[in-house]
Amino acid sequence: MTGTCAVKRGFFVLRDCGSSAASQCSICQRPICYQHMVTRGTTNFCVECNARQLSEEEKRARLQDPEDDVGFYAYRSGFYNRYGYSPFYSGLYYDSYYDEYDLRSFADAGDDSVGRDDDSGVAGFTDS
């Protein structure tokens, strides 16, 4: 697996993960590192696709669970919808996966070529 992990870190200001990709999400096909990977059976998912399959109650409960390492990502997506918050984005890598978060971009962001194949067909940040 080549490229860098496509999952964004942060809560109020999103930033690139920066780790090398170890696998690919079976739903969104994005490259993901070990830290942002959830494995069910033999299938790998990114923490965000995994979170999008949860109910609001589950998302909330998982952040309060001391055993849950990826509960943060489950809660994050629910928070943006519930509080109508638009996070800032600082980083180099972007794709349309985060369009629903209505991101506010830093001036130097927008180079969406890092860690992404040219023929991926995913719109750049500035297209959203």
Partner: protein, 288 residues
């Protein structure tokens, strides 16, 4: 939940964690990951404690019933047996409850501070340190009482408490300085009334006004502060100050509750920080 798992959970705590659950206060600066490590054991212990407390209370009620029924059956051997069992179990359970009360933390720790640490771990750069001052000695502990207590002629007594139970300070990954403060202002109202039959009844009511204060020091190079963004609700105030190096945005949120055990929704704390960020805009290259 049984006392053995409670004992195991308590034994697994470090000396510092044990000190915190008994003194219920901590002031320290460490990385969010270290804070989470510290809080995880305590959160697990507190979950076990809460569960055991419920079981012990039910056990106490059963012991009392056993003791009471035993008195009526004292003429037969089983009555003595029931009194003995009820008394013994009651004493053991009362001691257990006294211990649990001593080490019990307000659920704000587990359900508000803990998830907040998870968010700050992601929001901060690795190696950055988070200052936290936590105080869970109780909302109406004598140390927190204000000196403006009132007593009316009608027998109504009012006491006020200032419970500043969380103060946090950190530098976030984008260079923004975050200052966080959660304060509960508690009004305890005790009303004593005498009925016509001569009985005296006392009712105690609480009113808790929680103030969440989130202050952001945003880098002047990256962010511009916007003060004309409309308020989301009347229970929120915003203060914007433009500085040479940083723009400061302070958001205060107020919430009301009538029970001292009410747990603060950590989403409200994050919402206050988010509301401060919402008053900022990014500077474009030509503005820098």
């Amino acid at each position: 939940m049984n006392p053995i798992s409670e004992y195991r959970a308590y034994s697994s705590l470090s000396a510092e964690q044990k000190e915190f659950v008994t003194k219920k206060q901590i002031e320290s600066e460490r990385s969010p990951a270290e804070w989470l490590e510290f809080a995880t054991g305590i959160a697990k212990f507190d979950t076990v404690s809460d569960s055991l407390k419920k079981t012990a209370k039910i056990g106490c009620a059963i012991s009392g019933a056993l003791f009471f029924i035993g008195i009526f059956l004292i003429a037969v051997f089983v009555g003595f047996f029931m009194i003995a069992i009820g008394l013994l179990a009651g004493i053991v359970l009362m001691i257990t409850l006294a211990f649990l009360a001593k080490v019990d933390l307000h659920n704000n720790f587990r359900e508000c501070v803990f998830p907040l640490l998870s968010v700050l771990r992601e929001e901060m750069t690795e190696g950055e340190r988070l200052y936290l001052k936590l105080d869970f000695r109780g909302k109406t502990s004598s140390e927190k009482e204000l000196l403006n207590a009132r007593r009316s002629a009608t027998g109504r007594q009012e006491q006020f408490y200032h419970d500043e139970w969380m103060i946090g300070r950190a530098t976030l990954a984008d260079g923004t300085r975050l200052d966080l403060r959660v304060v509960d202002l508690v009004r305890k109202r005790k009303q004593t009334k005498r009925s016509r039959s001569g009985k005296t009844k006392t009712k105690t009511k609480y009113k808790i006004k929680t103030m969440i204060e989130a202050k952001l020091g945003l880098k002047q190079d990256d962010y511009a502060a916007v003060s004309d963004t409309p308020l989301k609700s009347k229970s929120e105030s915003v203060d914007v100050k433009v500085g040479d190096k940083r723009n400061a945005i302070r958001v205060r949120r107020f919430l009301l509750a009538s029970d001292t055990n009410t747990v603060l929704d950590f989403g409200q704390v994050l919402g206050a920080i988010g509301a401060a960020y919402a008053r900022a805009t990014l500077k474009q290259d030509d503005e820098k």
